[in-house]
């Protein structure tokens, strides 16, 4: 199937679909082939629409084969685990907060958070990105629980001490 195309105001062709795609068309570029009633935007012609939807929309760039590992994860990999070549960024490990919670809040929560935070890095280093993400969330939650528990107990303690101090002062009057 050969198509004609209107690029920069001039009609060109006939070309194959591949050739026209390589010329840097957009979904709005008018194309026509024998049998079509009129010029039609490429986005509405089946032969071009599928190509355009696959990310081929940068004018001036040649047609590129989509990364084969991108659409179909290799069998045996769980979804979100390892898309060959497409490496997601490492999720945050909240290590600083885990140390702060351990030292300031005086709670085992902080230790768990450090353990989780170290699992984030291990999982990421092994390429298990889904687990790295889960451990990251878990580290964050342990930090929050530790900090909240520590702050609540401290506020209660300071409040209680202030009350006792006040009663003691009243009693001695």
């Amino acid at each position: 199937m050969v198509y004609y195309v209107i690029l920069n105001g001039t009609q060109q062709g006939p070309f194959s679909v591949d050739q026209i795609c390589a010329m840097g068309i957009t979904a709005e570029t008018p194309v026509w082939c024998e049998g079509m009633a009129d010029w039609t935007p490429a986005g509405q012609v089946a032969d071009f629409a599928t190509r355009l939807n696959n990310g081929f929309q940068q004018p001036g760039q040649g047609w590129q084969q989509p990364n084969p590992g991108y659409q179909q994860p290799a069998p045996g990999f769980a979804p979100g685990q390892n898309f060959g070549g497409d490496v997601p960024p490492c999720p945050p490990n909240y290590l600083a907060w885990a140390i702060i919670v351990t030292i300031l809040c005086c709670l085992p929560f902080g230790i768990v958070a450090i353990v989780k935070s170290s699992s984030v890095n291990n999982a990421y280093a092994m390429g298990d990105y889904a687990r790295a993400y889960r451990e990251s969330q878990s580290a964050k939650n342990w930090c929050i629980w530790g900090a909240v528990t520590g702050v609540v107990i401290s506020v209660f303690y300071v409040g209680a001490m202030a009350c006792t101090g006040m009663f003691a002062a009243l009693g001695s009057m």
């Binding site: 490990n93 702060i100 351990t102 230790i111 890095n121």
Partner: protein, 121 residues
Amino acid sequence: MLRRAALIILLVLTVGIALTVYTLYDPAGHSFFPKCMFKAATGLDCPGCGSQRAFHALLHGEVRAALGYNPLAVAAIPLIGVLLIPDRCMPRLQRFKRSPWLSGSILVIVVAWWILRNLLW
């Protein structure tokens, strides 16, 4: 964006109040400072015990005294500072901050310090 700004203001306020309180009052001499729950329950020191006194000493420039109260807390301050630097400010630090051995060794040091301080001191 607004939530982020509120968080930053809250953080600055908290740090400011904490610095003022820990400079003006000595945790060793005032009973209103929060006590460690682990110590209250077991009588043993936790890895963080002594950090309030250490901060007070540090704020008065007494590094040696601070190290005596809790060397781990003193060592943690610069480390936390480095870890809190955003990635986009210093991309070269990313590898250090994300390395599995860093979090692993921190875990080992904290637990070892927890056990040793109760056995030796």
